[in-house]
């Protein structure tokens, strides 16, 4: 019954205006892998993450996600992946728990308030769930982003600079999240921080 998940990235190219940002990027990851994507600023780490997430269409190549032998269609991918990135913001006028409720319901995933609260507790936001996100500090917002990525228990976790704005406690939380996700599915981390890159078993450097 082990429905091993896998991700295959084949020949991804991306152009912006006249420049070639990503040139024939290919790799495969399977259940239990942690992959780190590194490179200079502007080398296309975030763009690659966005392509895998399905937010950006590549100029060439494709991304395939598998559940066992079956390919997961692009429209369904949203249930199978969670993403943390600087560009992804949450709704400021809603409270923490209202944000969680929204992201569960909009994904079509059953929402249990107790599960969300437990998750928020886990990342150190316990007690802040009724506060509007507008009143969160940047570190708290980052933690909430992590919760948002995990609330539907996705097999694929994409972390783009997960440690930004976090203190040492927050960084420990990221470490725990990666460790847990290692058992559950696939993790891809885009970062230049040595500490974060060290979580990974494999590294891909986009500057090469």
């Amino acid at each position: 019954m082990n429905k091993g998940y896998a991700l295959k990235v084949e020949g991804i190219c991306k152009h912006y205006s006249q420049t070639l940002l990503l040139d024939d990027v290919s790799f495969s990851v399977k259940q239990g892998d942690v992959l780190a994507v590194t490179g200079w600023n502007g080398s296309g780490k975030s763009t690659l993450m966005r392509i895998i997430a399905g937010l950006v269409r590549p100029s060439a190549g494709r991304v395939l996600m598998f559940a066992g032998e079956e390919v997961i269609p692009k429209e369904m991918r949203r249930r199978f992946l969670g993403m943390v990135a600087p560009a992804l913001s949450l709704y400021d006028e809603l409270t923490g728990v209202e944000n969680m409720e929204f992201f569960c319901k909009v994904r079509g995933v059953p929402y249990h308030r107790s599960d969300s609260l437990a998750l928020m507790e886990q990342v150190g936001l316990g007690g802040h769930e009724k506060k509007r996100c507008r009143d969160y500090s940047s570190g708290m917002k980052q933690r909430l982003k992590i919760v948002q990525a995990l609330v539907h228990k996705p097999p694929l976790l994409l972390l783009d600079e997960p440690g930004s704005n976090l203190d040492s406690k927050g960084i420990k939380i990221v470490e725990n999240v990666v460790a847990e996700q290692r058992e559950m599915g696939i993790t891809i981390i885009a970062s230049n921080e040595k500490r974060e890159v060290d979580y990974a078993d494999r590294i891909i450097n986009l500057s090469e």
């Binding site: 950006v56 992804l88 913001s89 709704y91 909009v106 079509g108 948002q148």
Partner: protein, 237 residues
């Protein structure tokens, strides 16, 4: 492996329930910030007062009233709508939440959710402005049932025709003027029909304004179907 994990991904949910989640969230945000509703109502009330003050109910000849009042009403409603209906998408883009929405929601649900939200705004607009207009301009209506049907159906049409355009301009650069410029040609047929329908409902001729109501409903259906097809194309990059 935790059992709960597999169930989470494979359980089905309807597009409608997801759309409702988006609608509720938009309503919640709007209730707390009043970002769009302020713009729309301010515009509508200001225009209504300006029109009523300068034209009033006495400056128009009785024979011209049914027609001119229809025109003025729809000018106020359409332009008020154009001032605020793009806000729900523009706000997502400005707050940086558009990406996370693209990531977690299916396009049809986003379209329907935003459509419901826009229709709610329009409903509020019509509920406040139409009675005020009738009173302030001395608008006599022979067939109120038909008139209401016309106002409601054209209002729905306004929402149906502009939601996808709002999604496009939120991702463009010139926003404000562009939304009006793009929406107006699409709305003009509806506007002409609405004016005529209201005129006929006010006068109370034999067929009343019912043919116009039917045309407005046809417009709504066509625009929603086309938008459902085309929205995913503009929603994904």
């Amino acid at each position: 492996m935790k059992n709960g994990r597999w169930i989470t991904q494979t359980e089905s949910s309807t597009c409608l329930s997801e759309a409702l989640a988006i609608w509720v969230r938009d309503l919640r945000s709007e209730f707390r910030t009043r970002y769009a509703v302020n713009a729309i109502l301010m515009f509508a009330v200001t225009t209504l007062i300006a029109v009523s003050f300068s034209i009033g109910s006495f400056r128009i000849a009785e024979t011209e009233k049914p027609f001119l009042n229809g025109v003025l009403l729809w000018v106020i409603l359409v332009f008020s709508a154009l001032s605020g209906l793009s806000r729900s998408f523009v706000k997502e883009e400005e707050a940086g939440t558009m990406d996370v929405l693209k990531l977690s929601a299916r396009p049809q649900a986003v379209f329907l959710g935003k459509l419901f939200f826009n229709l709610t705004l329009l409903g509020a607009l019509e509920l406040i402005i139409v009675p005020a207009f009738i009173i302030m301009m001395g608008y006599e209506i022979e067939l109120p049932g038909c008139f209401t049907a016309m106002v409601v159906s054209a209002g729905l049409g306004l929402g149906a025709g502009t939601t996808i355009v709002a999604a496009m301009i939120a991702q463009a650069s010139a926003r404000g003027a562009l939304f009006s410029a793009l929406s107006f040609p699409l709305l003009l047929p509806l506007m002409i029909v609405a004016i005529k329908g209201c005129e006929r409902a006010a006068v109370g001729t034999d067929a009343a304004g019912w043919p116009e109501v039917r045309i407005a409903v046809a417009y709504i259906v066509i625009m929603i179907i086309m938008s459902l097809f085309l929205f995913p194309l503009i929603w994904e990059e």
